[in-house]
Every structure is written in structure tokens, then in C-alpha cells.
């Protein structure tokens, strides 16, 4: 019974595991714009030469 379960768990594709994990999605959804938009943008703004 438990063996059956574990083999079931393994047969779940990666993508579905990702989509079934709201907290991993939350992490991605916050990290992506934090790095690519906020982080990148702020680095550029604060490295503009002052004169």
C-alpha cells in the first residue's frame, strides 16, 4: 500500500508538482519581479554617475 503510494508520488510530473505547490509559486512570483524589475532597476538608478 505504502509502496504503491510512493510510486504514485514519483509518477507525478515535475511541472504538476510545481503547479500544485502554492508556496513555491509564491516564491517564484515574488522573486522574479523583485530581481528583474526592482533589483535591476534600483541598481541602475543608483549607479548613475552623480555628475
Amino acid at each position: 500500500m505504502s509502496e504503491q503510494k510512493s510510486s504514485d508520488a514519483e509518477s507525478i510530473p515535475m511541472m504538476q508538482k510545481l503547479l500544485d505547490n502554492p508556496f513555491l509559486l509564491l516564491f517564484i512570483g515574488v522573486a522574479a519581479p523583485s530581481i528583474l524589475f526592482l533589483g535591476w532597476g534600483l541598481v541602475e538608478i543608483f549607479t548613475v554617475p552623480m555628475r
Binding site: P22, I28, V30, A32, P33, F37, L38, G41, F46
Partner: protein
């Protein structure tokens, strides 16, 4: 506290836990109240833009514009979205709400913040518009009110995530969550990023307004503010797409064409949608062309593609369901035989078409750095977002309310005759608003100047073509139409809640949910229901319009600066 009482809805079979039910009710009611308030201010804005009427003086105009933006774009939307989150978690998963006390605390914070914000702005010293760009300074309480509201909304998001955990632990559902709930997860994730960005920028700005912080960098403010301002509108997109799927299931018993494809499209929202915030910074110095192009082009196109997937699969799933139920003749019998007199459907479908054709296409034009310059900071921008947020999200939420409010309050809908017409009235008015504002913007009318005649500016002599004045007059008339439609919605909702015939445990006279289309029905006629030629024709029309409009703008751009 007892948190395990529930009732099973006799009409839908859904479980409403009393903890969630009461929160759903208060959030929905608060949403409608702020829609009413914000819509009224929208009327005043429209009547001032109409140069022949020119209702408000400059100082009042900017105050009212601030109120309009915050009440409808932030308060109405987010109250409704919190209701959607609780519905999609507790009700759809048949599970108690996690930590109802925290949910109530969040709600109280949101109400306090929203009311306080209205009071402060009405005092006249915070007419900084929704964007409240520094170094323009508002009353410190203005920033504080928004922070309170944001914290309340954030609590709501975490109650939602907590409820997902409870549902999983108590095994109230099997396998993956339903697609509509997945859409709500997408909205909640975007909401978390939105609200955190809002806090990152509004807390220092609050401290600056009380003198604790010396200076806020204007460029950095714009960057972080738009992570909040733009993303908040992407919560709406994710939520209204979830509502489209829900309504397709409710009205047609439709099943998504492919769970995999639809969920992947939502995943693309999660990763890419928020990056398009950079389109607001396309003419900002300080950020590079690389930053602008990566975020608005590469990333945004992936998010746009996700929207097109939803725009194809929602009507596609409706077509498949209708064909399976026998409306299989020709290309469009399925659409002609749809319940056009049911505001739940008509509102949703007008939302879908308006969002795609008006909001979507113009959004891509605004996101392309080169052609963006044709309309940057003109009235085209409000024209665009009235198509996305009002025609798209607000109308979808209205459509959902026609179904949800009777089910939730156990009252029969009042004024059904008017409800039948309301989505058309509001949709037509708002289509006009979008088109005429975009028309005026194309003629170069600035987005935020109170008077295009430039009276009293002492020096600006620019004259706009007469067509610009016509556009603004037509916009004013469309605003009136839309406001009548919006007011009708509010009257119907408040009327239903207060005076609708009580249903108790009686079933409604007409069933409010269609039984899901079964496998046998889909498979009859050799599964031909899955061929969706009508939707594909609609999609082709969309692509052709898209391509034409896009290239017309490049042509305009080519003509802007002639080569001598």
C-alpha cells in the same frame, strides 16, 4: 470560537462556512460602496474633461481625480478580490477559513484605511493623484491610510494561503485545486508582490512627509511605486480571468479545454506579468534600454501570450460545451444560442471581448518602446486602462456578482429587467470612454492637464485640433452612459441585499448553475465538440486586428519625423 458551522447551498451544493460567508458578505458590500463613491467621482472627472461643460475648477479637479483613482482602482477592486480569494479557497474547496479573526482584522484595517484616505483627500491638501509622485507632498495621513489598507489586504492574502493549507491538511479536496482556485492563487501571489512593493515605497514616503527621512529619490520612487501601481492591475487581470473560467463553468457547465495549458498560462502570469511595470518608465532616464526592453518586450510578450491563451480557451471551452449540448450547427450557433439575456454571461462575454480587443491590443502598443512614444503620457493611457480595468475587470466582477450575491445572501435578484440591460449599457459606455480617450490621446491631449485650452497657464499657446474637443465631448457622453450603467449595478446589488425576496432553504425559481457537461456528452458525435471552429475564427479576427493596428502605429511613427 466555533469555526466549523456551515450550510450547504441548496442551489449550488457549495459549502458556505459561516466564518467565510460573513467575510465574503462584508467584503462584497464594501466593494460596491467604494465602486459607487469612485464612480461618482469618475462622472465629475468626465464632465470636467468635456470642455464645453468643464465642471470643476483646477484644484477640485485634481482632488476628485485622486479620489476617483484610489476608490475604483484600489478600494473597489481589492475589496472584491479579497471576496474572490475567500470564495475560491473556503467555498470552492469546501473548507473552513483559516484564522477568521485575522481575516476580520484585515478587513477592519482595509475599511479604516479606505475611509481615512477619502477623508484626508477631501480636506484638499492631498490632491497628489493616485501615483502621488514625490517630491509632491501629501498629508502624512494620506500615506498612512494607504499603508493601513495595504496591510489589511496582505493579511487577507495570507488568510487565503492559510486556507489552502487547511484544505490540504483536512483533505477537503482531491488531487489538484480547481482551475478557478488556481487563478485565485495567481492573483494572490501577484497581490503579495504588489502590496510589499507598496509598503517598500509608501513607508519611507510617509516618514519623509513627517520629516524623519530627508529625501526620497524621485526616480527610485517611480520605479518602486509602479511595481505597486502596475502590478495591482495585474491582480485584477488574474482575478477576472479566474472569474471568466468560473462563469463558463456556471453558465454552460463547461470544462476547461486543457487544464495543463490554462494552468501554464497562469504560471506565465506569475513569472512575467509584473515585469511589465517597466512600461511606465519607458521615458525615464536612469534605467537603461536593456532594462526597459527586457521587461516590457521580452517578458511582457510572454504575459500577453498567456492572456491570449486564456482569451482562446475560455470561449473555446464555452463553444465545446455548447456543441456537446447540441448547438453544433455552423460556426456560431453556439454563440447565438448563448443566454444573452443573462447578465452573468453577457457581462462576462463583453468583458472578454473588450479586454482582448481594446485593452490587450493597445497594451502591446504601449509596451513597445518605439511606438509608445507616440502616446506616452497622453489620454491614450487612461483610455487603455479603462478598457482593461473597467471593461475587463470591473464588468467581469459585476457579472460574477449577479450570480454570487443571490447565492451568498439567499435573496432573489431584484430589478431583473434592468439587470438584463446593465452589462450592455455599462459595456457600451465604457467602450466609448476607452475609444474616445484613446482618440484624444492619439491627437496628443496630455493625460493629466485639467484644461486642454490651457486657460490661465500664461504662456502655453498650443492649440489642439477641433477633433480633440469632439473626442472629449463624446467621452463625456460615454461617461454618463457608463455611470448610469454602474449606478444601475449598485442599485440592483444593494436592492437585492436589502429587499430581495428571501430564499431561505428554498431553491431558486430558475436554476443558477448548469450541470457540468459529462464525458459522454463531449464524446458523442465522435468528440467533434472539441473542434472549436467558431472560436478559431474569432481568434483570427483578433490577430488580424492586432497586426493591422500595430503596423498602423509604426507607420504613424515613421511619419512623425519626416526625413528632409
Amino acid at each position: 470560537m466555533v469555526n466549523n458551522e456551515f450550510r450547504t447551498c441548496p442551489d449550488t451544493g457549495l459549502k458556505f462556512y459561516s466564518s467565510a460567508e460573513n467575510l465574503l458578505k462584508v467584503n462584497a458590500v464594501a466593494a460596491v460602496v467604494f465602486l459607487l463613491v469612485g464612480g461618482f467621482y469618475g462622472l465629475l472627472v468626465g464632465l470636467t474633461r468635456w470642455q464645453a461643460v468643464h465642471l470643476l475648477a483646477a484644484d477640485n479637479f485634481y482632488m476628485v481625480l485622486t479620489l476617483h483613482g484610489l476608490n475604483v482602482l484600489i478600494f473597489w477592486m481589492i475589496f472584491f478580490e479579497i471576496a474572490i480569494l475567500y470564495f475560491c479557497s473556503s467555498v470552492l474547496l469546501g473548507c473552513r477559513l483559516a484564522t477568521p479573526r485575522w481575516a476580520w482584522a484585515g478587513f477592519v484595517l482595509m475599511v479604516v484605511g479606505a475611509v481615512m484616505n477619502n477623508v484626508i483627500v477631501l480636506q484638499g491638501a492631498s490632491s497628489v493623484m493616485m501615483t502621488s509622485y514625490v517630491p509632491m507632498e501629501a498629508d502624512p495621513l494620506f500615506y498612512l491610510s494607504l499603508i493601513l489598507f495595504a496591510v489589511g489586504a496582505l493579511i487577507g492574502c495570507f488568510v487565503f494561503f492559510g486556507t489552502l493549507v487547511v484544505a490540504k491538511a483536512e483533505k477537503t479536496y482531491e488531487g489538484s485545486v480547481p482551475l478557478v482556485t488556481f487563478g485565485a492563487i495567481t492573483a494572490a501571489i501577484i497581490a503579495v508582490f504588489t502590496i510589499v512593493s507598496g509598503a517598500i515605497i509608501l513607508i519611507p514616503t510617509f516618514l519623509w512627509s513627517v520629516g524623519v527621512v530627508g529625501e526620497i529619490d524621485a526616480l527610485a520612487y517611480r520605479l518602486i511605486w509602479w511595481a505597486f501601481g502596475h502590478s495591482s492591475q495585474q491582480i485584477n487581470v488574474a482575478a477576472h480571468v479566474a472569474v471568466w473560467y468560473a462563469i463558463a463553468a456556471i453558465v454552460f457547465g463547461a470544462r476547461p479545454l486543457s487544464e495543463k495549458v490554462s494552468r501554464t498560462a497562469f504560471l506565465m502570469y506569475i513569472v512575467f506579468l509584473q515585469l511589465a511595470s517597466a512600461h511606465h518608465l519607458l521615458v525615464d532616464p536612469g534605467v537603461s534600454a536593456n532594462f526597459k526592453m527586457f521587461n516590457t518586450s521580452y517578458a511582457m510578450y510572454l504575459a500577453v501570450m498567456a492572456s491570449m491563451v486564456h482569451g482562446l480557451t475560455v470561449p473555446g471551452s464555452i463553444e465545446a460545451a455548447q456543441r456537446a449540448r447540441g448547438y453544433s450547427a455552423g460556426l456560431f450557433t453556439w454563440l447565438r444560442k448563448a443566454p444573452w439575456g443573462n447578465p452573468v454571461f453577457s457581462g462576462m462575454f463583453i468583458s472578454l471581448v473588450g479586454f482582448g480587443f481594446l485593452g490587450g491590443i493597445t497594451g502591446v502598443v504601449m509596451g513597445a518602446e518605439q511606438i509608445n512614444i507616440l502616446i506616452h503620457n497622453t489620454l491614450y493611457v487612461p483610455g487603455h486602462f479603462h478598457a482593461t480595468v473597467v471593461l475587463g475587470s470591473t464588468l467581469a466582477f459585476m457579472a460574477m456578482s449577479y450570480w454570487l450575491v443571490p447565492v451568498l445572501f439567499r435573496r432573489e435578484l431584484v430589478l431583473k429587467g434592468i439587470a438584463k440591460w446593465q452589462p450592455y449599457l455599462f459595456g457600451l459606455g465604457m467602450t466609448g470612454v476607452s475609444l474616445f480617450l484613446m482618440g484624444a490621446g492619439t491627437l496628443g491631449v496630455p493625460r493629466r492637464h485639467w484644461d486642454i485650452g490651457f486657460a490661465g497657464t500664461g504662456g502655453i499657446t498650443h492649440e489642439f485640433p477641433a477633433a480633440a474637443y469632439t473626442m472629449l465631448a463624446l467621452n463625456g457622453m460615454s461617461v454618463i452612459l457608463a455611470v448610469i450603467g454602474g449606478a444601475a449595478f449598485c442599485v440592483i446589488m444593494v436592492g437585492t441585499i436589502l429587499f430581495g425576496k428571501k430564499l431561505g432553504n428554498q431553491k431558486m425559481a430558475e436554476p443558477c448553475i448548469v450541470a457540468p457537461v459529462t464525458d459522454e456528452e463531449y464524446e458523442a458525435n465522435g468528440g467533434s465538440a472539441y473542434a472549436i471552429p467558431g472560436t478559431l475564427v474569432l481568434a483570427m479576427v483578433f490577430f488580424v486586428s492586432f497586426a493591422l493596428y500595430y503596423f498602423i502605429n509604426w507607420k504613424y511613427l515613421a511619419e512623425t519625423w519626416g526625413i528632409a
